[in-house]
Amino acid sequence: MESRGWSRRRLGDRLGLVVYGGGVVGVTLVHDPVWLTAAGVGVWLGAGKERGRLLRRALRLALPWLVVVSVGYGMVAFWSGLPVGEVLLRLNLRVGVLVLLTVVFATRVSLLRAVDFSPTLVWLFTMVMSQMVLWQRLYEEFRLALVSRSPGEPDLRTVLQASANAIAWFADQALATARNQAQALRARGLLE
């Protein structure tokens, strides 16, 4: 009985994985802001009763990154006379929809169950997820450090400075991690 419940859930998880994969590819291919917005609204409506909380979580994850990237891109584009408005709109919408999709997917589906047909994939996902947990904690650490060093709400300049520092640090770490993981993958014979 127990195992039948498990395999039914696993089937659902795999279906979820396929839908998610399709969604990600779809969102990457669509360029029209109207369609991107429609996709975002669609995902959000499909998210069920928890949609308020999920939207807030997605925003919290995506916003710091989007603000920094948008400001950076905006300045560069402004100085070099590139188009700003539409590119930024598309970027923000696309990343927003992707993050929302991921957040919704993560609450619905157990990735580990979805991929348990392949030990290698399980190992890979475990590795990626442990990285995500680690990064989430680190992000929280950066945030708390800023709070503890400020007398009140930090001003925009300080927040941007601190985010830039955190991002630089993450990029540095990500590079080192990627290198290590590539080596680990090679050691397990996965890249040959």
Binding site: E141, A145, L146, R149, S150, P151, T158, Q161, W169
Partner: protein, 258 residues
């Protein structure tokens, strides 16, 4: 000064602290001991008003402290954050200014001290970073960053200093310097460590968290260091094989302090 009553904390199902009762008087030097994951960092974050107890109560100078209250009551937060400094276990996360000088001057400027620059120079001198004032913090070595983060806290003249593994990455001279600095500081200092060799130097009172995240000892450091059973319960002794002449055997050690 500090009063914790039955403080517990859970991170989404992950227990970090259970029923901690603790009182600390002004000016005390306390050393917080415990194995990895015992809850030392979490306890220090509760004391810094960054993490809310899931249950129980934390009072600082008689005032109930929660992150919620600090967000609401701005004037109080300003005073509290000025008086209480936390050195994070990863000191890197505290550094985000373009130069070492700006980093140290950040706090005094935020609090509107008239002598912000002077203070920054003074503390740069004291932590031995005077020559590096114009360098970006991320270009410093691990130990230098640790000292820089420390200077950022000390420059504000805190009343309560919370140090999470303050000797991490410090070489022996810098460690000695820090030990003396802590002893001479008028502030209340709570430092965490899992190195028994340093316990007696960082404070006269030991507070020990067990593997079950409960407080298992609170008293004089010396007494704790004399009681092997207690240290073994806390998981602070290590066990490994070694040779005495021809005989290979294993038993518990605390030898980094013997």
């Amino acid at each position: 000064m500090i009063e914790l009553t039955g403080v517990s904390h859970c991170f989404r199902g992950q227990t970090a602290l259970v029923g901690v009762d603790l009182r600390v008087r002004e000016g005390e030097k306390v050393v917080l001991l415990g194995v990895n994951g015992a809850g030392k960092s979490t306890l220090l974050k509760v004391l810094a008003g960054l993490v809310a107890p899931s249950s129980g109560e934390y009072r600082y100078e008689g005032e109930v402290i929660t992150p919620e209250r600090l967000r609401r009551d701005r004037a109080f937060a300003r005073r509290f954050r000025g008086e209480v400094g936390l050195l994070f276990q990863n000191a890197e996360v505290m550094l985000f200014n373009p130069t070492v000088f700006d980093e140290i001057a950040f706090g005094p400027r935020q609090w509107g001290f008239a002598d912000a620059e002077e203070r920054a120079y003074q503390w740069a001198e004291r932590v031995g970073l005077r020559e590096m004032m114009d360098r970006p913090p991320f270009s410093l070595s691990g130990g230098e960053r640790q000292r820089l983060a420390l200077a950022c806290l000390l420059v504000l003249g805190p009343r309560l200093l919370l140090l999470d593994e303050p000797t991490r990455g410090l070489d022996p001279p810098a460690t000695g310097w820090l030990v003396e600095l802590i002893a001479d500081l008028p502030a209340t200092v709570i430092s965490s460590t899992h190195r028994l060799s340093l316990a007696a130097e960082l404070g006269e009172r030991a507070v020990v968290l067990g593997r079950d995240h409960r407080l298992i000892y609170d008293g004089p450091v010396e007494e704790f260091l004399e009681n092997r059973d207690q240290m073994a319960t806390a998981g602070l002794l290590h066990c490994h094989r070694h040779r005495h002449g021809e005989v290979l055997h294993r038993h518990l050690h605390g030898h980094d302090w013997e």
